[in-house]
């Protein structure tokens, strides 16, 4: 006889409903707490990739800021890129592991660099950001590639950009189309 059967067989008829009620409440609470965690966690696809390894990180230690964000104007079906400076103001290292945008279903982290006289562009699985470090995402370096956007991206428009971190945190930004410095 297993433990559960023992529990029920030994419980009186009066305590049985109480046990069932307690079970119901604990399961419900568990589900509710589980749902609440979604606020700070990327989608399940990320978890399946085994990228989330440090979910225990205290929020107070984590502080990453995005500034000077903009995206290159383009036409629907062509290419664009988003740029910004990522600043780890917090006291713990983290890594940018995935991006998404309202502009396109396909958004990737890329790096352009010169190698042996040839300009190379490669997709990056992640970009590590040490505590207090600032990493510029700028033309000719790190950038977020927006592949074949659904709509035209005109100067002055705005798009959303979501940045997913290894820690499980997400930054959601609305960024302007068009380089403000030009």
């Amino acid at each position: 006889m297993n433990n559960q059967s023992l529990l029920f067989s030994s419980a009186s008829t009066r305590t049985k409903p109480l046990i069932l009620l307690l079970l119901f409440i604990s399961i419900s609470l568990g589900l509710m707490l589980g749902c609440n965690n979604k606020v700070d966690r990327p989608d399940s696809a990320l978890e399946e990739q085994g990228r989330l390894t440090d979910l225990s990180m205290a929020k107070s230690e984590w502080n990453i800021a995005i500034k000077d964000a903009w995206a290159r104007p383009t036409k629907a079906g062509m290419m664009s890129a988003a740029y910004f400076t990522i600043h780890n103001v917090g006291s713990v290292p983290d890594s940018l592991v995935q991006v998404s945008s309202s502009a396109s279903e396909d958004v990737q982290i890329h790096l352009s660099y010169m190698n042996d006289g040839i300009m190379v562009m490669e997709e990056q699985p992640f970009v590590a950001i040490q505590a207090s470090e600032q990493i510029p995402f700028q033309p000719g370096g790190y950038h977020i590639m927006i592949i074949q956007p659904t709509n035209d991206m005109e100067e002055g428009d705005s798009i959303s950009l979501s940045l997913y971190f290894k820690s499980g945190m997400i930054i959601e930004e609305t960024i302007q189309v068009g380089n403000p410095t030009m």
């Binding site: 062509m78 664009s80 279903e105 040839i118 190379v120 562009m121």
Partner: protein, 205 residues
Amino acid sequence: MNTKPTLAKFSSYVLTYIFLSFLLIQSACINDYKVIDDMNDASFELVNQDSVRVVFPEDFRGQYVVMGFVYTNCPDICPLITQNLIKIQKDLGYPSNVQFLGVSFDPLRDTPEILHRYKEVFKVDENVNFLTGEPKVVQSFMDSVRVRTQESMRTTTDSGKEIYFLNHSDKIMVMNPKGEIIIEYGGSMPSIPSLIVQDLQSLIQ
């Protein structure tokens, strides 16, 4: 004895002579650009963004040509090259005797229609033409100006689109009215427009 003053005088003459010779040689060299590639034996039949036939370099003989090499599926570097072309044209005051070209090294995807849209995105002036053509012709053109390309990444995106990117040379070149490539620059670098403007102004004067 008055040998010392004579020697001093002689030395000052020699130094003045050397200095003036140096200045003369320097001034003669200012506009003396070495020919990197002579395009006169070449003839490439291409089309521009409006599907108008263009023969390179014949159609541009007699004028300076500033040309950059791009592909429109390039989200990062090629826009910088294109913006540099635009800036050079603007800083030179939209000269009618200088032709600006953006030549695609991805003719399979960069059709005239796509190049037309690319021009619209960058709000490029009329006097800038974007060229494409038959893949074999384009490849031969790229070989002749030593622009290297290689497929870097072919991937299927999350939404199922198959895309590829190209690693490529990063160049803007200047061809003189005789059909000779005389200067090459790093195409995407922010400092390039001012250098090209300076060089072209000294050449055109």
